[in-house]
């Protein structure tokens, strides 16, 4: 089946929050039909690799089908947290869009094929 490689940003929106040295990023597909696609491809292992520059101790993805999204928690990803980090973005608030830069492969719908 033909596929297209997209950015997660094309399919989903996200918001980052911090508590101490823990970063959480919520992730929601615009189209509920894409929930399975995200669940399949935005895995904890791939997130861990994508955030390697922040050296998180762990990545946990909580699935929330009722709410229509995911909660992704990266432990010790904020350089000690907002009060001791030397990072420019000590809260990690910009990092929701770093998540959205992940590539995602989507099968093309039948009507889009020539």
């Amino acid at each position: 089946m033909p596929e297209s490689v997209l950015k997660l940003h094309d399919l989903a929106h996200a918001r980052a929050g911090d508590k101490g040295d823990r970063l959480n990023i919520s992730l929601f597909p615009y189209d509920p039909a894409d929930w399975d696609l995200l669940a399949e491809q935005i895995t904890e292992a791939r997130i861990m690799a994508h955030f390697a520059m922040r050296r998180p101790a762990s990545v946990t993805r909580y699935d929330l089908p009722s709410l229509g999204g995911f909660n992704i928690v990266l432990e010790r990803a904020l350089g000690g947290g907002v009060n001791s980090s030397l990072h420019l973005d000590a809260h990690g608030k910009c990092l929701s869009f770093h998540l959205l830069s992940m590539p995602i492969t989507k099968p093309e719908p039948a009507d889009a094929r020539c």
């Binding site: 996200a14 911090d18 508590k19 101490g20 919520s26 909580y62 929330l64 009722s66 709410l67």
Partner: protein, 451 residues
């Protein structure tokens, strides 16, 4: 007339929030029937410790912008019976009451019934040994200079204050959602073991406590998520039913938007395990929560579930954390990135020579936030080198910052726009302490004033 809805609006979501947005919320509430409340959430982790530092210098220990937030809403709230609950008391809730009383005098308003909540301060008293023990278990630094330690207390003393007839309830540290749960428990008579109701009220508070973050703020992404008129964004309000279900909305005619997407994002904001969001009042389970559009800028939220609150309270200990220095310099035009990188290399060499170990050098526009993924270096029109340095010694940090300034003459070609700042840091650390060591109470300002 029986009450059908309790209305709760948010006037501020942090100490630096827009001061004028609360007035529109108060005006909207003024037109509603039944119990109405305004909440102000203004205490981030360090805000209270900063207030404590000011208090130690003989300055007010309450939120410096107290007047700024209350001046636009006091008259309308008092006239219409809209009761205010705010944690703007910071390190001195009683002092905040005194200031509000004076402010009302200045505005020609009658003295409102002011009640402050105390007991969150655990620097002294029976909770202090537990605090020190918890700190040792956390394996934190042994030598620390504690500035403030406050427990995140729950909604019970806010309820007490409202039952004393408070027009304005002033708190220090409370759990943010408790500012909303308090008036809901008071208005609906919910029991302290009605876990699902406490969970619903806590979820409502969690959604409101960051103000515009649920009504279109922290959300816009041009071309993907459009938000109308961010310059005049309306702060949120909730209409809460007796069964805990509620609708989130915003004042008519304001900017921003309340949609299932804005509400979903805020529901998971700063959440760890969605099945167990721990507050002093209840453990909130978000896994069955649903949101649905209920009209333009109206979103219905339901499905919160609760479990018994834990026996431990979270306290935030804040201590002096040395000095943070930051300095920046820009490079622009052809070959900007290689010149920026050369500057970073030179600066790194100098700091090694000076033995300034704890530092970080980034190129803003290239790798300061999310790694180093530059496809076409030549396409970068400008970069800004940033040095961040931590030290217990301000003179040492200043020496590092001076090294950025010296790049003007000793660094690569075309460096400009140096800015330097050196600030004292406060570190914070959460510590769990047994709930029964923390006693809170509600105290009427009149009693204090008469005494």
């Amino acid at each position: 007339m029986t009450t059908e809805r309790v209305y709760i609006g948010c006037g501020a979501g942090f100490a630096g929030d827009r001061p004028d947005a609360g007035r529109t919320v108060a005006q909207e509430l003024a037109g509603k029937p039944g119990p109405r409340f305004m909440i102000y959430e203004t205490l981030a982790e360090r805000t209270l410790a900063l207030a404590q530092l000011r208090r130690m210098k003989g300055e007010p220990g309450y939120l410096p912008r107290l007047d700024t937030f209350l001046r636009p809403v006091l008259e309308i709230c008092l006239r219409h019976g809209i009761r205010i609950i705010g944690n703007f008391g910071a390190a001195d809730p009683q002092g905040a009451c005194r200031r509000i009383a004076d402010l009302c005098g200045e505005l020609g308003l009658p003295l409102p019934r002011l009640v402050h909540v105390c007991g969150d301060d655990v620097m002294a008293g029976p909770a202090r040994p537990a605090l020190d023990q918890g700190r040792r278990q956390n394996d934190g630094p042994v030598n620390y200079d504690l500035v403030a330690a406050n427990a995140y207390i729950g909604a019970s003393s806010i309820v007490e204050a409202l039952e004393m007839g408070a027009d304005i309830v002033v708190t220090g540290r409370v759990a943010d959602p408790s500012l909303t749960l308090g008036p809901l428990v008071h208005s609906w008579g919910w029991g302290w073991q009605d876990w699902d109701l406490l969970a619903a009220g806590t979820l409502c508070g969690h959604i409101l406590e960051c103000a515009a973050q649920v009504s279109g703020g922290y959300f816009a992404d041009p071309g993907r998520k459009e938000v109308p008129d961010l310059a005049r964004i309306g702060f949120p309000l909730a209409e809460v039913a007796a069964d805990g279900s509620f609708v989130v909305t915003k004042p008519v005619g304001t900017g921003g938007c309340v949609t299932p997407r804005t509400v979903r994002e805020q529901i998971l904001y700063e959440i760890d395990d969605p099945a167990g969001y721990i507050t002093p009042d209840v453990v909130l389970d978000l896994t069955a929560v649903q949101v649905a559009q209920a009209g333009p800028d109206r979103v219905r939220v339901s499905g919160a579930r609760g479990r018994p609150r834990p026996g431990m309270l979270r306290a935030m200990a804040c201590y002096r954390g040395g000095w943070l220095g930051e300095a920046e310099i820009s490079y622009a035009g052809p070959n900007a990135l290689p010149r920026g990188r050369l500057a970073a290399q030179v600066l790194g060499d100098r700091l090694r020579d000076l033995d300034i170990a704890e530092n970080r050098i980034d190129l803003i526009g290239v790798n300061a936030v999310a790694g180093d993924a530059v496809a076409d270096a030549g396409a970068i029109p400008e970069v800004r080198l940033r040095l961040a340095v931590a030290s217990d010694r301000p003179d040492l940090a200043q020496t590092a910052l001076d090294e950025v300034e010296s790049l003007y003459l000793c660094g690569p070609a075309g460096g400009g726009g140096v800015r330097r700042s050196l600030v004292e840091r406060l570190n914070s650390e959460p510590i769990l302490i047994p709930r029964d060591l923390v006693t809170t109470s509600a105290i009427a300002y009149a009693e204090v004033a008469d005494a």
